[in-house]
Homo-oligomer: 145 residues x 4
């Protein structure tokens, strides 16, 4: 079983749109937070530190595929369960499952799922405005697998 972490989200009024449901880019915002939270819960230092010690700026997304199953609204609480499904040489595939506790003891509701492909990046030596993917650091993999 790969290592898995959870991240809690309390949906705010302002996260919802005129249809009264969560405006979907917020789910991706929360998945991004869950992604970072995964690394930090696994013991990886914040990027703010890693950029100083090792030049690692973060793990920008290369791809995200998201499926929406049910709507959610403000006042509700979501749980995002995150793990790394695949470790490739230069990218990782991270999976987020967003659920809401069932009412009155019912099974939980699956709200949406996101499958992310992310790379670890540094700033380019010659052009610091460019970001370059690096091989997945072995020590980070050891902490998170």
């Amino acid at each position: 079983m790969p290592r898995s972490t959870t991240h809690r989200v309390d949906i705010a009024f302002g996260d919802c749109d005129p249809a009264g449901i969560v405006f979907f880019p917020n789910f991706l915002r929360w998945m991004d937070t869950a992604s970072l939270s995964f690394f930090m819960q696994c013991g990886v230092p914040p990027w703010r530190e890693l950029v100083k010690t090792r030049g690692i700026v973060g793990t920008p997304l290369l791809e995200i595929n998201t499926k929406f199953h049910k709507a959610a609204t403000y006042g509700e609480t979501l749980t995002i369960t995150t793990h790394v499904e695949e470790w490739r040489s230069k990218v990782i595939v991270q999976l987020h499952r967003v659920t809401r506790a069932g009412k009155d003891g019912a099974a939980e509701d699956l709200i949406c799922e996101g499958r992310e492909v992310r790379a670890f990046v540094k700033r380019d030596d010659h052009d610091p405005d460019r970001l370059r993917a690096i091989p997945v650091p072995e020590d980070i993999r050891a902490l998170c697998a």
Copy 2:
């Protein structure tokens, strides 16, 4: 050739994250705006009107697959080109291509692409808190295809 529309985005400072590049959920926010803009440029009334005249609340997403090719930052201008790739009985597949004009006459940069599956929805007759997918309205298809 299917009907295609464009939507312009000027990237703001606050759209960017500590890595200095667009925080990715903003791309999906802009694609959502491009999706609505597509319908309005095709002559479909705003949902605010359609909810009154026909009960149609909007076109919530069922799925979005997004690929990120290059980073973008504040001060830059993006163009989102949108069309409907596929009209199924109950869903549509809408494609967004986000580009940045090339510098000094160079070809444009492809920043990211999003493929959305959307349904048209109404509120449920018995439980107005629930949204239900309806068949793709033929008159809207006629305006947008």
Copy 3:
């Protein structure tokens, strides 16, 4: 002593801007959540219910004055302490104090403060697109003062 509630915020990477600090409109977003959380912690039903039972849509802002004292960044946790400073006939003045726990036992840091003027509103009987301020409901005041 007026009734006071607290609301916790964990700052996310995407809440911060290219200067590496919280993009300030997010503080106002969190104050809005703290405002609603205040009412709910005091026992006021969610607007989603109140709009059905009494037509009350929410408490839109008339004015907000915000002072920023220190920057905050991702990975940090904030506490927003909220109370109603003044109950007038048609508006309330709500105060939010945003603090960060001090490091190593030091006193807490005051990050920012917001003073909001809010009204309770209903939709206009004749034009449901218009919102109209109503007198502050006595029962809500009784719960929150």
Copy 4:
């Protein structure tokens, strides 16, 4: 007459909340963009350049006072008119007036107003995580007054 610039905003569906109107922190987000746009329209280089050439990271807010007069909703277009009301030694007071064109030739609607106090900041020499206010640069004032 001080120099004044304008910035256009097309309100998106996702900028609005379940009450169907603009979620107010978005107004402050747009004022922030208008603030930066003011400097750039006046000929000040982007902070991304100024941080390299002169260490100036940006103009974080010290204070913002905002009054909301009318609601606005998606599909509408706003104009933000910006100028610097006051140049002090270490801070500036910037004023944003957000209006919507009147319908059928009527006078424009004043939607909201924001009065911002901003400082120019650099990173601290000894602790680059700290930002320090500097005297308002004379050349920037000359461009913008």
